[in-house]
Symmetry: C2
DNA sequence: TTCCTTGCAAACGATTTGCATTGGA
DNA sequence: TCCAATGCAAATCGTTTGCAAGGAA
């Protein structure tokens, strides 16, 4: 269940692009915005009981509209999560054992330091950064 | 063409694990160690003219031996690169336009700062970090 | 010689697509 | 009403695997 504000932002974004905000798409957004990490199409298929092809098609539409973003993981699995302008900037803890991905926020001070490191190295490489993510691999508390 | 030292380290690592260092595997290592970013199985297939299944099988063997590591990217494509103990620790510049991935090293001072940030946030999340990578998305110099 | 490795083709699993039908604005 | 969205099944694409033949130690 997305907050009313997020819900409104999505509605307006989709309307601007002539994309309908249908029952199925609302269900997907609901599942993704209440998750604590990215979810795969097949997880959503099981959770929502909606045809797999519809899950894939709607996720693609929502991705093109910039509402969700894909996260590519082990075994060729793609997991989706809410875009950062809706869910807030965050990083990932990737468990090398069970493959789970957990979202984390980092303290503002750290984020500032990170941004400055990125500006530095991107400039040195003639690269224009638009986004970044710190991927921390290791073992989650369950797999420790 | 890997350096003689890297070559020796790989030989010894594989010997320890009773894995043969064959012509095909040497070709893969040669291609990966002279690349400036990760390569996919199909790119290696085209570049080396070796059967796809052999490319996949050898990459899996080399991955299990800890010689190469997979990098999962857009459209479910897996790209491989030399493991960090052979190629050195580095980060990635991912072009959102052409999908290319470029390896970069960052200055020691920055790396130290990064490590301390990671230790901090992982501890707070009861996560045991084993590795990390800073993924910087944006436009490469060619696509700018 | 003895296994490990290779090649080929068939099998797989995740994702996409064609087409007829349904449904939202 | 009218075109986008959906459901189903078939097609695709990257990747894996069974099995017989070849090659390294």
């Amino acid at each position: 269940m997305p907050t009313a504000s997020v819900e409104r932002q999505i509605e307006s974004r989709l309307r601007d692009r002539d994309v309908r905000y249908t029952r199925g798409r609302r269900a997907l957004i609901g599942a993704l915005s209440s998750a604590d990490g990215p979810k795969s199409a097949s997880e959503l298929f099981v959770e929502l009981g909606m045809p797999l092809s519809s899950v894939y098609r709607s996720l693609n539409v929502l991705e093109e509209a910039g509402v969700v973003i894909p996260h590519h993981g082990a075994r060729g699995l793609t997991r989706y999560e809410m875009a950062e302008w809706l869910a807030g900037h965050h990083h990932h803890l990737v468990c090398v054992n069970c493959g789970s991905v957990e979202d984390i926020q980092i303290p503002q001070g750290h984020e500032t330091r990170l941004t400055s490191i990125i500006r530095d190295v991107a400039t040195a490489a003639s690269f224009t950064p638009t986004d970044h993510s710190l991927e921390i691999e290791g073992r989650c508390s369950r797999c420790a």
